[in-house]
Amino acid sequence: MSTWLRNNRLAALAALAFALVTASIALVFFYAPVDADGLNQKIFYFHVGVALTAYACFGWGGWKALRVLWKRDEDADLESYVAIHQGVIFGALTLVTGSIWARYRWGHWWEWHENQLVLFLVLFLFYAAYFMLRFSVPAGPRRANLSAVYALFGVALVPVSILAIRLSERFIHPVAFDRNGPNMAGSQFFTFCVSLAAMLALAATLYHVELAGKRIDVRLRELREALR
């Protein structure tokens, strides 16, 4: 069993992600109680899970970027790029799910007072520019350096933007976590934890799949160069 796991890590991870996503969908729709906001509150389980996963991806990308600059780790460049790519995908999903939630809660598709949504819009623009930067520099150590420095800027931009958006707007965002701990019922909290774990496992699976594909691309290019 353990050798099978070691040889098929990706398959095992994918199976775990599939099981968790299935479980979280089942829990969200059949186990978690419908609260005062009605059925549309259910999107909260996905929205917050996806948003936290996007943060995790950006953080992981920033960590790998630090490895590029600090340890001169050549693999870390690709890992940082793939993590940020996943982060942008989950960030876009956060924008979409948050927008749907805003539509049902406040009646508008976009709500400037919703700090979390505005933050994700800023981060989305920032990391979209990351790809522009990366694809306009020829591959090589220079590109690895520029991408890594920009990714580190992103890590600093997140807290600064949170502060900036809080300063610029008044609050109407419902606060699910406050100083007294999670502000929801136990069964809701359990469902939320499962769906967060599901999103993290899904992101990890996608990350490894994309990484494997990108590594094959690099290897193929090297072989082609060697044959020329």
């Binding site: 306009s136 520099v137 520029l146 800027f153 600064v160």
Partner: protein
Amino acid sequence: MTYLADVGALARKDLLLELRARDTLPAMLLFVLSTLVVFHFALPGNSSERAATGLLWVAIVFTALLGLSRAFAAEREQGVLDGLVLAPSDRSAIWLGKALSVLVFLGLAELVALPAFALLFAPVDGSMILGVVLADLGIAAVGTLLAAMAAASRARELLLPLIFLPLAIPIVVGGVGASVTENPARYVGFLALYDALFAIICWASFEYVVTE
């Protein structure tokens, strides 16, 4: 002390070049004035002074972008950057020298823009000037590093606004807050925090932008 001497020499080189060639600063001055005139026609007749103040910040950011896109033009065209990187000094001195010269250009442009704004739109108060000064520090610090990045890419002038504007959003929030709210202290503090944080990151990471 040699570090500061290097920084001073690099900044003096840029200012001297500008004094002789005069290709960036006149463009920035003309741009900021024409932007203000465009804003006059863009604002509906009954809009408030607050709206005009917000637009002033757009003018400041875009004028800075204009100057920043030229910041490394001479270095790139003449291949100076390779020579600077080879020079026996800390690479961050290149960033600091360039940021200082960008700061001088920006300050001079605003020395014209703020009186023009006061004349054409709304009075300028002390907290607004403080906000502009702090915002300039942040723009010069972050913008110089990003301009060096953009200069290394194929897209160059096209890329700089794309990578700069998301990072400039907090500056605009702090600047507008310092200009229009009754309690500007927290916004001024926020701008100072932004400047300190990003100046440290830029200072520490510039070496990687110009080397391989």
